[in-house]
Symmetry: C2
Subunit: 451 residues, 2 copies
């Protein structure tokens, strides 16, 4: 192609109809002239062959993705940041590009959106093997076609009648292996201790040793007993992650038995299947995060977690569980904040999703989490911090509530613990320092998790 | 946990019931003692908290994932291979581990399988931020629950009545932007020139400017005309990638109008949704590969492509399009061979899938591809090599058949070209050397692609 040909993939952003384009930010490492590489990247992502042989047509004006900004971050590097089997490559540039992609090319369809913005064109552009999709910005006109969360943060709070604090989740543990009877007893105890939501682990499926029907029946009944005893609404969050053709059936089954929110492993099931379920769901949908880290962990390659968070919100999740702060979760503080922000920031007509940053939480990690987030619009999701507590799940849940009361009262965790044996026991079991989760525990009562 | 506690996650492979375990091979970089890290990894992946507080139960014997082999590849490294925000970490080991994971933990469900083997437990094990799932081995007992491909290589060949050569695909280009009338004309020409299968690009959806119904009607009619004129079966491979709740509807629509194989972007749609479609499909299903490279490109992090290939086969794809050989596709020769092998190697009762390694193919890349694979059981899928050919798609398709005839006759491409103007024109347009795809073309008639 000639320089004039490539120019068809460049544009001044102000000249484009903002309603017609999705804006995409990428990190890119490429060989040779970075502008040429970025234009090639636009072509690959849209209409690489823009006319038929022997025709004078030009499909670029309507269908071409356009380079609207190019920042060169580092020029003449000695090679790519990651080894990709190319050995030493001279003249590598690292860039940040913004691309305007016409969404009319594929429409308001999640699988086709993914195919366009992180598909073959994106990851197989010549001379540009290192790519990370950093962010995605949707015009309101595109968002109009999506349903988004049915309840959102406000609707979810309304169901729980909680408006002045974070929402307290807990992952029932042992996560797998218990029969429904034992499992439901643990949930019941945790509600009585003060949890709002007792949840299935993301690994717990509809298996012969713990069938969903029986589990939901027992936990539904236990939930109602706990609600009667405490006088407050409670949630049993059942995991219905399963084959796509069972999702609606399992929704109906679990809800009819007493589950009043449903967990789905978003990426393993597929975002589009979640959107399908959302259209029929009668209860809040909660996302869990397996199958995202292998895309997102490295700084310069893959797809950023904030993109996944936005897509999960778009697919209709009311609550999004995500890796939280701390070395344990291999996620930087900035990345956690970005993902939380992607849940809560304005997004056209799409409701907000409740962010739940999790990872080795216990009573002592509540204050640092709250302080880092600077909002009460989040969920807190210990696992062993409640279910591995030396006094059992009732004591574990109580320790969480006591930690929150300390924050509200403005007293230290130690002061509060002097008046509350559950909190005292939590500190002894889970760590001397309230900001550091322990790395070792004993007796099979847990060693990490979501949770 | 104590050393004795961790020992519950170790096993001699010979002591385990082979029918009950999936075997998983991982590359792992971890801090500290590698065996301890690998045992922790097993715990995180299965039952990290294996008993209730105050109970003497032990869930490990039935539910624990087990370390069955540990090879230390590199000890006392100065840090991780990839920067993960940890700075210098002393005493990092690189290992290869084999883990036996009891599939009864989750059952024959693709989303739950993914959650177990590449989910939170796998990618958030303490001190082990660098993980790559290298391979997965299923016992026949597990495979019994999967349908796999409906037609497989043999059934697909039977439909085409081709038993002695590769299958010739072509991606109709311009890939997006043409109205159905123009688009179908290109397909028709390519069939007359000798293509077996004319296909939609993976980016082409059911849009207002090229509705699937109209496209399938026109291409279905054109296919039947081409079959009548050539006396050989032809395939129109329609892309039905769309939201999950439209897949069955679009299958029925496209097939009723004349599409006789269907393309689905496997990972954007989701493997489980494909399995759902497979149960109702009346024609072969063909996978395309967007949304895999961001997991798989780096040698030491993510998920290997052979795992995705096996999972696509398990989900029921009769044909699997994948990145092929050559620098253009950023994939090593070994990795391409591994993926091809994952399509064709025995896998219990699961039929073979036809591998289609693609990337900037034209007549001149057919011989090196065939020689590298050493089998005729593959598909060849040029894009511009047919549709950007100077003599148009009929000439482009003819050049592919001429290249195959040269291979069969044992003559060189140059010799063959001296007798065939289409092949001559292909060599002039696409490269002096038959093994090197050109990096530049002109006039918007293509610059790479799958294709």
């Amino acid at each position: 192609m000639t320089d004039a040909d490539w120019a068809g993939f460049r544009a001044d952003e102000r000249s484009l109809d903002p309603d017609a384009y999705i804006l995409l930010d990428y990190y890119l490492e490429c060989e040779g002239d970075p502008e040429r590489a970025a234009l090639h990247f636009c072509a690959e992502q849209s209409t690489a062959q823009w006319r038929r042989v022997g025709s004078s047509e030009d499909l670029r004006p309507r269908f071409g993705a356009r380079l609207v900004d190019l920042q060169i971050l580092d020029q003449e590097r000695p090679g790519f940041s990651y080894e990709v089997g190319r050995g030493r490559v001279p003249s590598v540039s690292a860039c940040r590009v913004r691309i305007a992609h016409p969404h009319g090319n594929f429409g308001p369809r999640l699988p086709n959106l993914l195919s366009a913005v992180c598909g073959e064109g994106t990851f197989f552009s010549p001379g540009a093997p290192i790519v990370k999709l950093l962010d995605i910005h949707f015009p309101d006109a595109y968002l109009e076609s999506f349903e988004g969360p049915q309840f959102g943060v406000e609707g979810f709070r309304e169901r729980l009648q909680i408006h002045d604090r974070p929402i307290f989740f807990g992952v029932i543990k042992p996560n797998i292996g218990l029969p429904p009877e034992d499992f439901s007893e643990l949930g019941y105890e945790s509600w009585l201790g003060g949890l709002d939501i007792a949840k299935d682990d993301e690994m717990l499926a509809d298996t012969d040793w713990c069938p969903l029907e029986r589990r939901a029946s027992l936990l539904g009944a236990a939930r109602r007993r706990a609600e009667a005893e405490t006088g407050t609404p409670k949630v049993y969050l059942a995991n219905i992650t399963d084959e796509v053709d069972r999702l609606v059936e399992l929704h109906d089954l679990a809800v009819s038995r007493g589950a009043n929110a449903l967990l789905i492993n978003a990426m393993p099931v597929g975002l589009s299947a979640v959107r399908m379920l959302r259209r029929q769901a009668r209860v809040p949908l909660v996302a869990h995060f397996p199958f995202i880290a292998p895309f997102s962990r490295l700084a310069g390659f893959g797809i950023h977690t904030r993109v996944f968070t936005k897509l999960q919100r778009l697919a209709g999740f009311d609550v999004i569980i995500m890796p939280g702060f701390g070395e344990r979760m291999h996620t930087s503080d900035d990345e956690v904040r970005d993902a939380v922000n992607a849940c809560l920031a304005p997004m056209g007509r799409i409701k907000r999703s409740l962010p739940v940053p999790g990872g080795s939480d216990w009573a002592g990690t509540l204050r640092p989490l709250y302080e880092k987030l600077g909002t009460i619009d989040f969920g807190f999701v210990p696992g062993r911090g409640v279910f591995g507590h030396p006094m059992g799940p009732r004591g574990g849940a109580a320790s969480i509530r006591q930690a929150w009361e300390a924050i509200v009262a403005g007293v230290s965790l130690e002061d509060q613990a002097s008046r509350h044996p559950e909190l005292r026991a939590a500190i002894e079991a889970f760590g001397g320092s309230p900001t550091v989760a322990p790395t070792k525990t004993s007796n099979g009562n847990g060693s990490g998790g979501e949770s």
